[in-house]
């Protein structure tokens, strides 16, 4: 294997590992043992555990970009498909999802930047689906709030598992509609659909 291939393989392995185990629960020794490699090899590719984790988070969030809906679909279908993809992702990477969003290692400046890029991308895709080129500050604030709603609700949903997934999907869709309605009442200049 080339250097790059070996690094990629370690990152692929980390995706599985951090889906199953919390960041804080794993030492570098645990990771090396689980991957059947020496600690020295890990340190050859990654400066420390944080550096390895950030590389894994980057790889995982790249997957979030891949499951974004087809932009040629009608907006309603894009929204539903986007939410389903988001919840698939949250379920498949429950540990990483919760620790990245619920403090913990999510506080790392590099991880925060990756998360912030994804939030911005989601907001851009929603605006793009509705052909809104210059969102007003009120609408941007409302959409950022909706992302916060989705993250908080999804983290609690994963933790408690008391609400049917279909009900969460419906709530997220209804809340996005409510966000647009509220933004339009507050700032009638907003032009939507």
């Amino acid at each position: 294997m080339t250097v790059d291939e070996r690094r990629e393989e370690l990152i692929r392995f980390g995706r599985e590992l951090f889906s199953q185990h919390a960041y804080d629960a794993l030492s570098i020794d645990d990771i090396a043992a689980a991957a059947s490699v020496s600690k020295g090899l890990l340190y050859h590719y990654f400066e420390n555990k944080r550096d390895y984790y950030v590389a894994v988070v980057r790889a995982v969030t790249a997957e979030m970009r891949e499951v974004l809906p087809d932009p040629s679909l009608p907006p309603d279908q894009q929204l539903r498909q986007g939410i389903e993809g988001y919840l698939d992702f949250a379920e498949n990477h429950a540990h990483a999802f919760r620790s990245v969003l619920d403090g913990g290692v999510g506080a790392d400046a590099d991880v925060r930047q990756v998360v912030e890029e994804i939030r911005t991308l989601y907001i851009e895709r929603i605006l793009g689906a509705l052909s809104i080129d210059s969102p007003s500050p009120v609408l941007r604030l409302a959409l950022r709030g909706w992302i916060g709603f989705g993250e908080a609700a999804t983290v609690q949903w994963l933790a408690e598992r008391e609400v049917a997934r279909g009900d969460l999907v419906r709530m997220l869709i209804e809340m996005l509609n409510a966000v647009f309605e509220s933004a339009r009442r507050i700032d009638p200049a907003i032009d939507v659909r």
Copy 2:
């Protein structure tokens, strides 16, 4: 001064300090110099910078409890008063508010616990104002989502200052109403007002 009084004084000082400066921007030396005390004195009362910060965050969030609205007021007035108090707090402690909620030192387990207690208290007060004793899981998820909406929108509002405060207040009120309406549609057994 007694030991307790001196500790209280250092915490009071920290409230001012962390309202003006980000946690990461201050070293223990900076703090000691700003407070005109020796580093040794600080270390006498607090184990390290994190320990000092957690004590300050606890004191600051105690203030959030004091500005909670009078529970004998009608629910609509309580909501408006509660939101105004929350935004007063956010504006008066902008640095602490943003760093606690937007990752950074907010990742500290003790800080997270303080923040989580406040969230739970807000949800309880909303339910109390509406005399809802046993909220369904759908309603709890929706309310937790609304808290996430409010936090995300407030952090962005503080960072950008492009939206009038009154518009944010209105949006938060409208979104709470929308949250109840959505939860009621999804779970018609919810009994509100």
